[in-house]
């Protein structure tokens, strides 16, 4: 699918420079004038500029990268890293929910369950995917497949990428909170390896509903938190435009979460962000998942449940008042 150009403000100088380079390249191929030196110089300059921009990204800039529409989504990882994918869609209760995709596939030849949030790129796709915001049916579908994976002893890989679970009338009527709650407990009970990769947005309970894993990996420019920076700022400052400030206050980047010991591994993205080179980013994801899966595969079902319990049991920071 042709991807529309979507430029973030802070990428502009870099993209301008790159446009100039490709212009020169085109020019030099049509004439006898040799621009090789000039092009080389500009390419080095572009590389340096990119490094400079990305070295000091603000948290708000990271949030913008996490939402970049050309960023790889779950289905992109499914097609580049997995083979034999068979999608299973039924929650057996009410409806199919296309904000979550799920099914069995092979990773390095090994059968696994893959479940992930799915956003759309076009308006039409986003209608279908509900902007990656699941309704209870999505979580109940996931729950059904978690049970299957557990029974057939298939490792589980989840991809997290949602602004949050959908806050609508129907979703409430059918028990959005209950559906997420049940997944938290079911995931805690699974006797198979569970690896979650936060690939874009980790929006609160809607993200965690697929996230109770033995290992939590997070892409370099993804965010994960209890609330989106916009909602946080509309509560705190009654002004959604202070999201930049809220992003800093919430500490929601991979680096933050890794320093808190919540995230086990940060997966490096392609230079300039995953949207600049999805294939390279996917390779990095594959390498990390492969490594974690190899370690977890040594554990028995009971050990896997214990490992997950201990991991989450230790989360939280509090004081002891004398």
């Amino acid at each position: 699918m042709a991807r529309t150009v979507y430029t973030l403000e802070f990428e502009r100088p870099l993209l301008a420079l790159e446009a100039k380079i490709s212009e020169l390249k085109q020019l030099s191929s049509g004439t006898s004038v040799d621009f090789t030196d000039e092009i080389g110089k500009l390419e080095r300059k572009a590389k340096k500029l990119q490094a400079e921009i990305f070295r000091d990204l603000s948290r708000w800039q990271v949030v913008q990268l996490a939402r970049h529409p050309n960023r790889p989504y779950t289905l992109d990882y499914l097609s580049s890293l997995f083979t034999d994918f068979v999608e299973l869609e039924g929650d057996r209760r009410f409806a199919a929910d296309r904000a979550i995709v799920s099914g069995f596939a092979r990773f390095d030849g090994q059968p696994v369950l893959v479940i992930g949030h799915q956003k759309g790129r076009s308006t039409k796709e986003n209608m279908l995917r509900n902007f990656g915001m699941p309704r209870p049916e999505g979580y109940r579908k996931a729950r059904r497949l978690f049970d299957l994976a557990d029974r057939f002893r298939r490792p589980i890989i989840t991809f997290i990428d949602t602004p949050g679970a959908y806050p609508g009338i129907g979703a409430e009527e059918r028990g959005q909170a209950e559906a997420i709650a049940v997944n938290l407990e079911v995931m805690a009970s699974l006797g198979v390896p569970v690896i979650s990769v936060v690939i874009g947005e980790g929006g609160s309970g809607g993200a965690l509903g697929l996230g109770v894993a033995n290992r939590i990996l997070m892409l370099q420019y993804a965010w994960y938190n209890v609330i989106s920076p916009e909602s946080c700022s509309s509560i705190l400052y009654r002004d959604a435009s202070k999201a930049e400030k809220s992003a800093d206050a919430l500490k929601l980047t991979a680096r933050d979460l890794s320093s808190f010991g919540i995230v086990d591994e940060i997966v490096e993205e392609a230079p300039g962000g995953a949207h600049r080179d999805g294939a390279l980013t996917a390779q990095n994801v594959a390498a990390a998942v492969r490594r974690q899966l190899a370690e977890l595969s040594k554990l028995s079902p009971e050990e896997l449940v214990r490992d997950r319990y201990r991991k989450f049991r230790a989360m939280g920071v509090y004081a002891s008042a004398g």
Binding site: A171, E172, A181, G205, V226, S231, L236, A319, S320
Partner: protein, 280 residues
């Protein structure tokens, strides 16, 4: 020249103390405005005898209400909020916690321990909504987790009264992870085959509703409590419509099969007693 000089003394009109005929003796119902004897209203656990409206009941009073006299032993009282993010908005989180502690006498939004209901030992806890909207940060998550740990070790029923706006923003990702932590601890508790009864009070939303509160073996709600995942304001902003009357209230949830029963507060102790004996 004036014979007398006016001095500009402002006369402060101080209202004479009005005899309010027993200020503090009466209580006006929030819902029906009926005025009743405060003592009688308190004896009825803050429930209006006229219209049945349930007003908030202080956390310790609630525990006394359901437990046998003098059996409640509060535990984990040493747990107090830390500030892992160094969070600050208009006010520093640390200062907010300190001033809330001063106003409420509570270290955080949850009181828990052990007690007995008609002689059956239970591991029990209750939210204090007056502490930062009953929001769940690391302390609340840890206390709820210990309720299940203790119930597991004692092989006793667990009871949690929830009343919360959800996870506490000021502790960021740590708050979110309390949802997973409590649910994992609850799962471990299930193996001892004792009941966990969740009672949802007004209001219970967000990360608390979407974790242990909705995972009760039995889920009970008080009448007309607001219970749901998203708050009504967020839903209205999303769908750009006014929500129907009674949406997300206990009665609505019961009709949709999302909870097991609505129990008026004065009957709560008896219902809990029946349940722990039938299942415990």
């Amino acid at each position: 020249m004036a014979w007398f000089q006016k001095t500009a003394t402002k006369v402060k009109a101080k209202a004479p103390p009005v005899a309010t005929k027993g200020e503090g003796l009466f209580h006006k119902c929030d819902a029906c405005n009926e005025v009743v004897y405060k003592q009688e209203w308190e004896a009825n656990f803050h429930v209006c005898r006229g219209c049945g409206h349930h007003e908030a009941l202080p956390v310790r009073r609630r525990l006394e209400m359901v437990l046998d006299p003098n059996t409640f032993e509060e535990l984990d009282t040493e747990l107090a909020p830390a500030d892992p993010l160094g969070f600050s908005d208009a006010k520093k989180y640390k200062d907010r916690v300190r001033s809330t502690f001063k106003n409420t006498g509570l270290r955080d939004a949850f009181v828990s321990g052990v007690g007995a209901i008609d002689g059956v030992k239970v591991s029990i806890g209750c939210f204090a909504f007056e502490f930062m909207g009953g929001s769940m940060g690391s302390v609340v998550g840890e206390k709820v987790t210990r309720i299940f740990d203790r119930a597991h070790d004692l092989r006793a029923p667990a009871i949690v009264f929830s009343s919360s706006g959800g996870a506490r923003m000021q502790e960021g990702i740590f708050s979110l992870m309390q949802m997973a932590k409590t649910s994992a601890a609850l799962h471990r508790f299930r193996e001892v085959r004792k009941p966990y009864i969740s009672v949802m009070l007004h209001p219970t939303t967000g990360g608390v509703a979407a974790s242990f509160a909705w995972l009760g073996d039995v889920v009970i709600a008080e009448p007309k409590a607001l219970i749901g995942f998203a708050g009504p304001r967020v839903i209205e902003q999303t769908i750009r419509e006014k929500l129907p009357e009674g949406f997300q209230r206990s009665e609505f949830l019961l009709d949709h099969g999302m909870i097991d029963a609505i129990v008026p507060r004065p009957e709560l102790r008896q219902k809990l007693s029946q349940l722990v004996q039938l299942l415990g």
